[in-house]
Symmetry: C2
Subunit: 130 residues, 2 copies
DNA sequence: GTGAGTCGCTTGCAAAATGCAAGTGACTTC
DNA sequence: GAAGTCACTTGCATTTTGCAAGCGACTCAC
């Protein structure tokens, strides 16, 4: 996330938002229904707390997620995909398909995940935490 | 490219290969017919020489590109997409589509680019430099 | 009602990646 | 033979990442 707007190229510009090691794995978690801080920490990739916090705030800045206070006292927030964030689903599905073909030892996700539409993902993301 | 294989998740694993700011822009250039070192340096994003060199060798390690000596004395190499690399085309197209919808000031690529297939890309990548 | 535990972060610091500029070797061209 | 070009490499400053510990605001057990 260093130098911004190197060019008007959609690939270079898009990578400024999703071109790092963590953003899309958090997005994956949201696509599969996770919404709270502890949920994201639980994932097998073991993201550290500082990176998670900084990625979540960047994602919010970039309009991919919205934060909702789901309890006061103490204040707790849950994170949900915006339509802009949910629209990254096809990208995530492309990456998944590529990895499943070309990288050994990657697990294939459930069919519902590969067949989901961004609309469905946005609706799931808009739901209050279970 | 720090810690490898955080999990068997296809998304996390795929990001270890393409989850950085430069790999996909070099790939984009190859998809549009570039193959030589100087060609890549020419792109509007102005990648620096050290990063380009390190990305190209990583991409070779990861099997996305192959290097071909196109002249001896002095030895010069051109870089070409392998089928594995060309198969990233749908991912690049997804990212392009997303950026065009959600990021202002991104230019839309020519139609042929969005309609290309990985097979066509691999053939173009396999061609000797023009 | 106090001491341990949980949750969602923040802080400090070391290690790695990135960016910039300059340099280098093997030529080609004037 | 001096000046360029091409494909890198090297050195060093800056930025990002990763790890571990800390911290405030609670809840819950006893």
């Amino acid at each position: 996330m260093t130098k911004k707007n190197r060019s008007g190229c959609p690939i270079a510009s898009g990578l400024e938002i999703v071109g790092d090691r963590w953003t899309l794995v958090i997005l994956r978690d949201m696509l599969t229904g996770k919404s709270k801080y502890a949920d994201f920490l639980d994932s097998p990739e073991k993201i550290t707390t500082n990176i998670l916090a900084s990625r979540l705030s960047q994602m919010e800045e970039n309009g991919l997620v919205s934060r909702r206070e789901y309890q006061t006292n103490p204040k707790r927030y849950s994170y949900h995909l915006t339509p802009k964030g949910a629209d990254l689903l096809p990208l995530v599905q492309s990456l998944t398909r590529w990895s499943n073909v070309h990288l050994s030892h990657t697990w294939t996700p459930p069919a519902y995940f590969m067949e989901m539409t961004p609309q469905q993902a946005a609706e799931a993301g808009a739901k209050p935490p279970a």
